[in-house]
């Protein structure tokens, strides 16, 4: 049963991964990619890693939805039926693909895979949490802060308007000068 599910999801994931490059509409390509990633999430669940699988589904769905915002910014014709190829830099891409595929296959065939020791924990989610927040806590905290700082820094660099533009040179304006007023007035 789970072997069948594994293979079904695997084939579907690869097939929709290929379709990303066959479709000529950005919306279809995006959602084909989403299908592939949802199948990967399903694979994780089949392998018994429920939490990681479900989190993959959650994160990828939201991620692809956010992609759609950018799609609108740069391509406002809805339905996106303008044929538009999803392939760029064909020769370079072909070389990179062939190279990475070969090295992965070689790796799979040559590496001496370790035998399984011990048994799967009763609650892998708990073990995952213990491992992330136990021995790896420092790493995870540093990583989290670094990611957060990167996001903040990117937004600060990207925005054209700072607080002096919004609140005036002495920062005394009662209401910020924004193109559209927000709900709190900050």
């Amino acid at each position: 049963m789970s072997t069948a599910a594994f293979w079904a999801l695997a084939v579907l994931a690869v097939a929709s991964g290929i379709m990303v490059f066959r479709f000529d509409s950005m919306a279809r390509a995006t959602f084909s990619l989403l299908t592939a990633l949802l199948c990967v999430g399903g694979e994780l669940i089949v392998l018994g890693l429920d939490y990681l699988g479900v989190v993959t589904v959650l994160m990828m769905t939201i991620e692809m939805a956010i992609m759609a915002v950018f799609m609108i910014m740069f391509m406002m014709n809805p339905a996106g039926l303008m044929p538009m190829t999803m392939l760029h830099n064909r020769r370079g891409a072909a070389l990179i693909c062939a190279g990475s595929f070969t090295s992965l296959v070689v790796g799979i065939l040559l590496v001496p895979w370790p035998r399984r020791v011990g048994r799967a924990p009763a609650d892998p989610t708990m073990d995952l949490g213990m491992s992330l927040m136990g021995p790896q806590m420092l790493t995870m905290m540093t990583l989290g802060m670094a990611l957060f700082a990167t996001i903040v820094a990117t937004v600060v660099l990207a925005t054209r308007r700072g607080r002096y533009d919004r609140y005036g040179d002495d920062l005394r304006a009662a209401r910020p000068d924004d193109p559209v007023r927000g709900g709190v007035g900050r």
């Binding site: 509409s25 919306a27 279809r28 959602f31 989403l34 429920d50 939490y51 479900v54 989190v55 589904v57 959650l58 769905t61 939201i62 692809m64 939805a65 956010i66 759609a68 915002v69 609108i72 406002m76 014709n77 809805p78 339905a79 996106g80 039926l81 609650d123 989610t125 559209v180 007023r181 927000g182 709900g183 709190v184 900050r186």
Partner: protein, 295 residues
Amino acid sequence: MAEPAPPWAALVLPLALALVATALATADARSTGPGREVLRLLVQQRRITRAADVPLVRLATTLLPVAAVLAAAVLPLGFRPVSDLPDGIVWFNAMEALAWAAVWLAGWGPNSTLSLIGGYRFLAQGLAYELPHMLAITTAALGAQSLRVGAVADAQAGLWFAVWMPAAFGIYLLSALAMAFWGPFDQPVGRDTAGGAAAELSGVDRLVFLGGRRLLLVVAAAFSVPLFLGGGHGPLLPGWAWTLIKTAAVLGLLLWVRRRVPTVRTERYMELSWVVLTPLAVAQALVVAVVVLKK
């Protein structure tokens, strides 16, 4: 400890949800009853716009009810869900996020500006409500020290989470409305855009999409019961009855809010959500974490 329901429950679940949604529609009936409205949409022609992406539209309309039913799989009726996943809360969150994709595609597919605006609005609304929403449901999980929905309900045998996590409960109710784009958060299908994401849907497509939205509202409201209102716990009556009563009460509240409040626009709600609600949700989670550690 929740025991899983028998397998046939998986078949009954969509029917039960549809039943509650119909009851909701009857209570909410403005001029036409739900039965007649369904019949009207069934005899209506399915219409396609020029240069539409028909497969995407069909996918989008069916995805919405499917996501709602999948999310409901972890809902316990009394103490028995169809499937008591160890990460039920994350599962619910993930299925609810599928609605983002569904509404967005329904807006994009028909190749019409107004429906595109509707789909676009739902993404903005999603970005606004999702952050405090995730923190709120995490707070409930934190209080029970489990991501299993059954365990969260069991942790409230004594005191309901709604009582000692009022901020998280309030935020959850707001986001329940927002995720089903219902009531004051109906901007994605607002009348000002001639129906928004649903503007170009007719006939069966419209029925499935708007029906899916009602299912989503029922599921979102019902999920607040095990999360914050003590699940099936209560005196005298059996667990399933308490679940139904509490769900009906939450739905009644949501219907009432819809009558009393105009549509909340995202550009206003976004700032409120990120500047006020998110810090509030973090503070609530902190309080709960301290209480749980002290125990």
